[in-house]
Each structure stands twice: as structure tokens, then as C-alpha cells.
């Protein structure tokens, strides 16, 4: 089973690979796996940026008005003597969210794993449009540089929040930020093309390039999640881009789409933003749900419980995500008669989330659970997503939202979903698929230490934010001590800040493990986790063109511990159980790990 028997198309690509120079291989690559790695390194850097900004925000809240360690190096327009200014604080809050949402969590999920997993899990040699794929990646650093540059222009970076509510965002006269706000919108409008092009590729690839036998209901859940996400990207991102361009017109050429003095409508921006923004929430978590499903099924050596329900739940979330945006606007002045409508649609979206949670638990039930690092992160995802999901019910119920809207309760909720959920899901994904990406295993000991410390410090940092919200502490407040009734919360805020710093410091362990294992990790072989999807039938890392020959899919992706299989896993491309298998030619390579591939 080597390249000598490979079909023409695949061999052709494999040869072409050898002719590519350094630049075509590592920089302007069209190979989806290299693009996945480029996305990974770039978005991890942006994650670091977002985390640094968060640490500064927490310094101000934990130790208001005190000079920040190492803060003396910042210019006087940001933090004279290391003391953060209110206008810089607003920029920090805005840019922390912007980098985390658009430059870290989105590319870490859709960018990295959309590229890595989709072709490998459906048995394709690459994406449908490899060059569009390359462009999709290269837009990310360009947009990132525009966004970073905004810190250094006069007036500083955007400071109207990541939601950029007009008219605050529509004119520099309200914030003192002119160019920074323009660069913010420009960067997001540019970045939108990255998502649109990527999504176009994912949708086309999944529909058209599945290997023989890869029916819709044999597609692994990670690819399903990325497929649903791709549709959301394709439909939601243009709405943001359109809105951003209108807001840019308001700022630069004096239109009044969102400014009331020209008969514009401030709430129109909110409708546009959240019509994009709520599907965006699912763009930020659906892939992590997919990773969690893969890891939990594989590491508990059991079929995923209720595969069809899992798929239907994701598709349902994909649809329902479009009709709930009004719950972000219960207190906005939107017609209160819409409150009941959006309350009903919003609570319904709890149902598919509940279905997914119960099915993950059903998968663990009577399983044979291997506690490796990816599984630990996947369990963290489930247990923290439960909290984030349940806390969402408070704000879905409109009367209760009156009180907790725009308080730290919301901050707690969204960080339970996006850090406890998405980031732990991403850690599960990275640690699980690292061997396929780089051919080596990450260190298990370091991985477990990183997991345990992250899990503890994470909860210490974010759980008490619920309590701050219940006590009435608002979001985006430079110094809560301005309000007498919030002064008693300072010890809680200091506790949270210290926990955030510990959580951030713990990520050094991950960074070290990640980089060190690139060189020193144990060789992974083809299939170190004894998993079923086609991805693991390829060498690690897979060559250009991926599959030495076209794989043929004989079963679903989660046939673990099947009574007819000799081992506790049964790869999708392994030949059927009946040993004589009729006239069918041998389907595929053996699933055994081949060391040194």
C-alpha cells in the first residue's frame, strides 16, 4: 500500500510537492494543512495579544489607579507612569474583545480546524479552491496589522466597545478616537473577506469532495460542526461588513445612517450588529462542540450517543441563531412588544444545547474513559458549557435581564461560553490533533499540569463575576469605586484579577509544551489515539494530497467497541467485517500505527 498503487490524481500532487520551493511550501502555500498551521501560529499570537489586553483591564479593576508592573514603558497617552487612563481603559476593553473574538477564537476554530479537518475527515486531497484558501489566510495578518496599528495613531485605538454602538462609535467627537475607530472598521471589513472565502471553500468542499461512501450521516461531527459554522459565516459576515461600511460612511463622509442628527437611527446599528452577532456567537462555539464530540467518543471508546440528534441539534442551532438577536436589545428601547417574541425564541435555543450536553454525558456512560489531556479539556468544555448555558437562561428571561443586562453577570456568562467553552474546546482540539499536524505528541505530564491549573484558575477568575453582577456592578466601568454601593466589591475584584493573572501565567506551560514538542515530542505514528476517522489513516503529518489512494468509507465515524470488530475501534475505511468481502477490492490501508511515517 504505498504510492506505487496510488491513483493518478493523488500521485500527481505528491510529485508537485517536491518541486515547490520554500516560499510556496511555507509562506504562500496552497496546502490546506500548511494553511491550518499558519492559522494556528498566527491566531495563537493574537490570543496572546488579547490575553495581554485582558490582563491590563484586570490590573485596573483589581488595583485601580496603581501603577501597572512594566506599565512604565507605555506612552503617556495610554498610561502615564504606568497608571491606566480612562480613555486607554476603554480601548483596552474594546480591543481585548475584538482580538479575542475576531482574531483568536474565530481563526482558531474555523481557520485552523476547518482547514485541517474538513479535507482529511471527508477523504479529500485538499480544499476545493486551494488558492482562495491561501488568500483567506493571508487576509488575517493584514487585518491584524491594521487593527494593531490603531493603538499607535493619534487618539488611540477604538474605545466604543466591541459592539461599537452608534452614535458613540459614529463620530470622534464623543470618544476622542477618530482614526482608531476608522481603522477598527476597516480591519473588520477586510477580515470579513477571509471568513467569507474560507467559508465558501468549506461549504463547497464538504458538498462536493467527500470520498466514496462518505454519506452525510457518516461525516464526523467535527466536520459537521464546521460545515454548519461555514454557512453561518457565509451568511452572517456580509451583514457585519455591510454595517461596518455604513458606519464608516457616518464617520468619514458625514452620512447619517446611525446618527440621529441626520434622521439616522442608532438602534438600526444594533439590529444589524446583533443580526450578525448572534449567529457569530454560534460561529464561536459550534466547532468547539464538534471537537468535544470527537474527543469524548474516541477517548471513552464508545459511539457518540445519539449521532443523528447531535447533527440535528447543530443544524437547529444554526437556524435558531438567526431569530434570537433581539435578546441583546431587551433594554435598548426596542418596542417592548417584541420582548415576548425574542424571549420565546431565545429560550428554545436552550433545547438543542441541552440535547448536546446530555448526549455527551450519554457517550461517557458505560464507556471506557481514557483520561488523556484532550479528554480532560473536552470534559472541561462540557462542565463549563453547562454553567454558561444555564446562566444564559437568566438573561433570556426579559424581566430578569432588566437587572443583569450590562452587568458583570453578562461578562461571567459570555466568558463561561467563550473561554470555558470555546477555549477549552480549542485546547482539546489542539492536543488531540497536534500529532496529525506535526507528527509528534505533546507531553502528557505538562499537558495535565496545564489543564488542572487552567481549570482551577479559570473558575476562580470567572465564577465570582456572576456575584459581582448580582450585586449590580456594571460592565466597562473604569473604576467601580466611583459608585459608593460598589466599593464593597473591591476585594472580589482584586481576587478575580489575581486569578486572571494566574490563569494567564499557566498558559506559559502550554506555550512551552507546544513549542518544545515540535522538536522533542514522541513520534506519533499514524493513529496514536486509535481513532476512526479518515484523518488517522494518513501519515502524520499527511503528505501533499493527503491520501496515498482514494479511501473508501464503509461505516460511520464512531464505531468504537463494536462487537464485530477485533479491536475497540473500527476505522471508517477498514474493510467490512465479513472477511471474504466479495468482489470489492481491498478498501484501504491498515489502521495500525506505522512508526516513523
Amino acid at each position: 500500500m504505498s504510492t506505487t498503487t496510488a491513483p493518478e490524481t493523488h500521485a500527481g500532487h505528491a510529485e508537485a510537492h517536491h518541486e515547490l520551493g520554500f516560499i510556496r511550501t511555507y509562506i504562500f502555500s496552497t496546502d490546506h494543512k500548511m494553511i491550518a498551521r499558519q492559522f494556528l501560529f498566527t491566531s495563537l499570537l493574537f490570543l496572546l495579544v488579547g490575553g495581554t489586553l485582558a490582563s491590563m483591564v484586570r490590573w485596573q479593576l483589581g488595583f485601580p489607579g496603581q501603577p501597572m508592573p512594566l506599565g512604565g514603558g507605555l506612552p503617556d497617552t495610554m498610561a502615564p507612569g504606568g497608571i491606566i487612563l480612562p480613555e486607554f481603559y476603554n480601548s483596552l476593553v474594546t480591543m481585548h474583545a475584538t482580538f479575542m473574538v475576531f482574531f483568536a477564537l474565530m481563526p482558531l476554530q474555523a481557520g485552523v480546524f476547518g482547514n485541517l479537518l474538513i479535507p482529511l475527515q471527508i477523504g479529500a486531497e485538499d480544499m476545493a479552491f486551494p488558492r482562495i484558501n491561501m488568500v483567506s489566510f493571508w487576509i488575517l495578518p493584514v487585518a491584524g496589522i491594521i487593527m494593531l496599528a490603531s493603538f499607535f495613531v493619534e487618539g488611540g485605538a477604538a474605545g466604543a466597545g466591541w459592539t461599537s454602538y452608534a452614535p458613540l462609535s459614529a463620530s470622534g467627537e464623543w470618544t476622542g478616537v477618530y482614526m482608531g475607530q476608522i481603522l477598527w472598521l476597516t480591519s473588520l471589513a477586510v477580515l470579513g473577506f477571509s471568513s467569507i472565502l474560507g467559508a465558501l471553500n468549506y461549504v463547497t468542499t464538504v458538498i462536493n469532495m467527500r470520498a466514496p461512501g462518505m454519506t452525510w450521516f457518516r461525516i464526523p461531527l467535527a466536520t459537521w460542526s464546521l460545515f454548519v459554522t461555514a454557512w453561518l459565516l457565509l451568511l452572517a459576515i456580509p451583514i457585519l461588513t455591510g454595517g461596518a461600511i455604513l458606519l464608516l460612511f457616518d464617520q468619514t463622509i458625514g452620512t447619517a445612517f446611525f446618527r440621529p442628527e441626520g434622521s439616522g437611527e442608532p438602534l438600526l446599528w444594533q439590529h444589524i450588529f446583533w443580526f450578525f452577532g448572534h449567529p457569530e456567537v454560534y460561529i464561536l462555539i459550534l466547532p468547539a462542540m464538534g471537537f468535544t464530540s470527537e474527543v469524548i467518543a474516541c477517548r471513552s471508546r464508545k459511539p457518540i450517543f445519539g449521532y443523528h440528534s447531535m447533527v440535528i441539534a447543530m443544524v437547529a442551532i444554526g437556524f435558531l441563531g438567526w431569530i434570537v438577536w433581539g435578546h441583546h436589545m431587551f433594554q435598548s428601547g426596542m418596542n417592548p412588544l417584541l420582548g415576548m417574541t425574542f424571549m420565546a425564541t431565545t429560550v428554545v435555543i436552550a433545547v438543542p444545547s441541552a440535547i448536546k450536553t446530555f448526549n455527551w454525558m450519554g457517550t461517557l456512560w458505560r464507556g471506557n474513559i481514557h483520561f488523556d489531556t484532550p479528554l480532560l479539556h473536552a470534559i472541561a468544555f462540557v462542565s463549563l458549557f453547562i454553567i454558561g448555558g444555564l446562566s444564559g437562561i437568566f438573561m433570556a428571561v426579559a424581566p430578569v435581564d432588566i437587572y443583569i443586562h450590562d452587568t458583570y453577570f453578562i461578562v461571567a456568562h459570555l466568558h463561561y461560553v467563550l473561554v470555558g467553552g470555546s477555549l477549552f474546546g480549542i485546547f482539546a482540539g489542539i492536543t488531540f490533533w497536534y500529532p496529525k499536524m506535526f507528527g509528534r505528541m505533546m507531553n502528557e505530564g505538562l499537558g495535565k499540569v496545564h489543564f488542572v491549573l487552567s481549570f482551577i484558575f479559570y473558575n476562580m477568575a470567572f465564577f465570582p463575576m456572576h456575584n459581582l453582577g448580582v450585586q449590580g456592578m456594571m460592565r466597562r466601568i473604569y473604576d467601580p469605586n466611583q459608585y459608593e454601593y460598589l466599593q464593597g466589591l473591591q476585594p472580589t475584584n482584586t481576587f478575580i484579577s489575581i486569578s486572571v493573572f494566574l490563569f494567564a501565567a499557566t498558559q506559559v506551560i502550554f506555550a512551552f509544551n507546544f513549542l518544545w514538542s515540535l522538536r522533542a515530542g514522541k513520534e506519533a505514528g499514524r493513529n496514536p489515539w486509535k481513532s476512526n476517522t479518515l484523518l488517522w489513516a494518513t501519515p502524520s503529518p499527511p503528505p501533499h494530497g493527503n491520501f496515498p489512494e482514494m479511501p473508501i468509507v464503509n461505516r460511520g465515524p464512531y464505531e468504537y467497541s463494536h462487537p464485530d470488530a477485533e479491536e475497540d475501534f473500527w476505522p471508517q475505511d477498514a474493510p467490512p467485517a465479513t472477511s471474504g468481502s466479495g468482489g470489492q477490492p481491498a478498501a484501504s490501508p491498515t489502521p495500525e500505527p506505522v512508526p516513523g511515517d
Binding site: P167, G306, I355, W365, S383, Y560, H562
Partner: protein, 226 residues
């Protein structure tokens, strides 16, 4: 450190109903939280890998799917419909008490400007007077705030009254509430409105009805002197 899940004391008529709804959700989510997390931990311990153990080949159960689709659906939909009455009571403009005492409140960077109609109870007349960052109101009488913003969006937040409503430039939004006891309470801005957002606080001063009339008369006299 404050890790309390209890709502602070409330001083408005609909506050207890809102808090009650919060506690209903807290109980439901609390029970679901402990139940699911405990089951999760039990599964992790009970079904951990040991030598020679094999997972059971179970692909799912339609009965289970129906159960855990239907039960959450019924619970959350009940919550939504149970909440409708309170939402309407607080927010439906048609349900604002007709005898409510009117005050115009304008948010601007970074202060709250309250306008009182004066003795003639008519806005836009010469005996109107303004008060900055203080909202003086009588106890046990519904208050109707006509909320506006001059520049950007602010949010009128009275934590003790369980009141929050964005003030949007170009729009007038009615807000009503009724204080149940006298005293001074914070007024906050809950929507990021620029670099002084965190300073945009004020005070609600609730008088007995007689004291409120005295205060009004005093202001009136002062306004006429000016």
C-alpha cells in the same frame, strides 16, 4: 469577598416580583447544575479506563432523546410565558399607571438632567426647573420618566429599583416605577458612553409625599427667584 447569589434589597413595587423570578431561575438552574455536574463526575469515576474493561457498544436511545428534548422545552417555555406578565407590567407603555408623576430625564456626557414641570404640571412652560444628577421623587406614587439622550446612548440604571432602560438619542422612552420606601439610592449609567462613563452616577432621593411637596415648593421658589 462577596460571593453572594442573593439579590440586594429592592425598594420598588415590581422589584419583589422580578427578584422572585430570578430566584425561580436560580433554583431551576441550580438543581440542573448540581444534578448534571454530579452525574458527570460519577460517570467519569465509574467508567474510567481500567485494565481489561471494554466500553459497551451503545449508539443512543430515541426514548432518551425524546425525554431530554421535551423536558427542557417545557421548562424553558413555561419560564418564558410565566415571565410575560411581569415584562408587560414593567414595559408595556399601555400599562403605565395613568396617575404617574412625570419627570423628563436627559442623559448627556456625563450627567443626568432631570426636568420637573413645576406648579402648572405642564412641561415646556416657564416654571419648569432642572436638577442635575439627582432624581427627587415621592414614595408610594408611580413615577413616569420620559427618557432621552442628547449625544450618545446612555443607560438609566437604578439597581435598587430593578430599573434599567437605555436612553437613545432621537427617541423618547417611557420608564415607570414606584418607590416603596424613603431614602437615597444610586443612579448609574450602564451603557458605555465615553471616557467619563464611569463617573456618570447620581442619586435618587425618595421623600414622603409631604416632604416631596415641600421640596417641590422650595425648588419652585428658587426657580422664580432666578
Amino acid at each position: 469577598m462577596n460571593f453572594s447569589w442573593l439579590m440586594p434589597e429592592t425598594v420598588s413595587t415590581f422589584g419583589p416580583a422580578l427578584d422572585n423570578l430570578y430566584y425561580v431561575i436560580l433554583w431551576i438552574t441550580g438543581i440542573v447544575f448540581f444534578a448534571t455536574e454530579i452525574i458527570l463526575v460519577v460517570f467519569l469515576v465509574k467508567y474510567r479506563h481500567t485494565e481489561g474493561r471494554k466500553a459497551e457498544y451503545i449508539q443512543g436511545s430515541n426514548k432518551a432523546e425524546v425525554v431530554w428534548t421535551a423536558i427542557p422545552f417545557v421548562i424553558v417555555m413555561s419560564l418564558a410565558f410565566y415571565s410575560k406578565g411581569l415584562w408587560d407590567e414593567i414595559r408595556d407603555p399601555a400599562m403605565i399607571p395613568a396617575d404617574a408623576y412625570p419627570i423628563e430625564l436627559m442623559g448627556r456626557q456625563f450627567e443626568w438632567n432631570a426636568t420637573y414641570s413645576g406648579a402648572d404640571n405642564q412641561f415646556g412652560t416657564s416654571d419648569d426647573f432642572d436638577v442635575l444628577n439627582e432624581l427627587h421623587i415621592p414614595v408610594d406614587r408611580p413615577i413616569r420618566i420620559e427618557l432621552e439622550a442628547e449625544d450618545v446612548i446612555h443607560s438609566f440604571f437604578l439597581p435598587d429599583f430593578r430599573v434599567k432602560q437605555d436612553a437613545v438619542p432621537g427617541m423618547t422612552t417611557p420608564v415607570w416605577f414606584e418607590a416603596t420606601r424613603t431614602g437615597e439610592f444610586p443612579l448609574a449609567c450602564a451603557e458605555l458612553c465615553g471616557l467619563g462613563h464611569y463617573t456618570m452616577g447620581g442619586t435618587v432621593i425618595v421623600y414622603s409625599q409631604a416632604d416631596f411637596q415641600d421640596w417641590l415648593a422650595g425648588q419652585q421658589a428658587q426657580a422664580e427667584d432666578d
